[in-house]
Subunit: 210 residues, 2 copies
DNA sequence: CCGTTGTTGTGAAATAATTCACTATGCTGG
DNA sequence: CCAGCATAGTGAATTATTTCACAACAACGG
């Protein structure tokens, strides 16, 4: 229990965390596993199992369910949400800009410290209020600003090169929106979000009836 | 073998398909499972296993590897990529527009037949060349145009209502970019792409060292 | 004070997915 | 024509994940 949390469980715990944050703002103080499961579209078993992965102490007491505030803190502590992360966005095209402007993408603990693009004079980015640097400065700027996470939204042809620069600058995680598979040393975590593929997968699932 | 393809295999097969399409354009005619695996970042075993899921006839012959054209057609046939799908985009904010303008998102077989937004007079959408309708007409337009897939990029508060309208119009698959979990009858496939969550998950993975 | 109810936590079973090991086969070079 | 080799296909083993079943426990009502 102490050490390993299965990857799907990490993903669900993140969702639980965000849900708890919202509930907390609404003034909810207690919540049951079945209610959480209902809201997240997964079984109550699953919720309990996930939560049990990160417990050294008990989180829920007796009948009432989980204490929202306490569970939130438990997840945050175990998954590192208390640490501040600095992030950058590489590629300020339509998608990159849309992500930057979506304040919810970067929670209160993740700050956009820099943007990179081949075209530095983008009006939109100035409006978004982030500092923009040319792509060839990625390594240097990333290292100087201690950026640890990167969002990669460049054309496929440039993806690997930008990734190399990011890694050289010391980035530890890359959220890859490119349709390319990028290769890095294993210490750098890459998470692929393949928008192109998702619709195709959906059409296949519809066609097959899952 | 005939019937069920595991969901992760479907996702990988879609990726293989797109790769094959690119290879085909480059004039490659033969490819081995190990080369495919290398390019996609998965093991050769995995590739072979996935492909074996959709075979009634053999796809690769002897030494040379797979015939690119034939394998592409095999996947297309089995996963329904020959059928034309009509799609719509609900919510033409920054993200919705970015997706619409990304021609690669909608492959040659998926056509954007309509867009919906509360504000119909968006200049950008006119430039994008799609017909825009007000949100309250979703059900009717979707049914009239025979739209089967929907991309949902509205604010969380409107997500469930839009989904209901889509379903009422006869949509069979929804790609949900909302951070809400939407509930539908089980015949409608929903695929969630939680951009908000992805960065958080990445930060957790980095923090935990996977 | 005690049964009843609704809840968590968790070991164990079941299911799903990946990885492996091996056979068969066609291609290639000599 | 034959030996050697690189490859696909696949049943079996392994691993991962989900689901289940139930024990333990706190609150509540009478």
């Amino acid at each position: 229990m102490e050490n390993k949390i299965p990857l799907p469980a990490v993903a669900r715990l993140c969702a639980i965390y965000r849900l708890l944050r919202d509930l907390s703002l609404q003034g909810v103080t207690l919540i049951s596993s079945s209610a959480l499961g209902e809201m997240l579209g997964v079984g109550a078993h699953n919720i309990r199992k996930d939560i049990s992965c990160l417990m050294e102490t008990e989180a829920g007491s007796g009948k009432s369910g989980y204490d929202v505030k306490r569970l939130k803190e438990l997840i945050a502590g175990r998954l590192g949400f208390d640490n501040e992360f600095r992030a950058c966005v590489v590629g300020l095209g339509r998608l990159g800009l849309a992500l930057v402007r979506n304040e919810r993408l970067f929670g209160e603990k993740i700050r956009v410290a820099a943007g990179f693009d081949s075209d530095v004079n983008l009006v939109e980015t100035i409006k978004a209020g982030i500092d923009v640097y040319p792509s060839y400065e990625i390594s240097e700027v990333v290292r100087r600003l201690n950026v640890e996470l990167a969002v990669l939204t460049v054309p496929a042809a440039n993806a690997q090169e930008c990734a190399n620069r990011l890694v050289r600058g010391g980035v530890r995680g890359i959220l890859n929106f490119t349709s390319t598979v990028i290769k890095t040393e294993p210490a750098v975590k890459v998470r692929n979000v393949d928008l192109t593929g998702e619709l195709q997968i959906l059409s296949a699932l519809v066609y097959l009836g899952i």
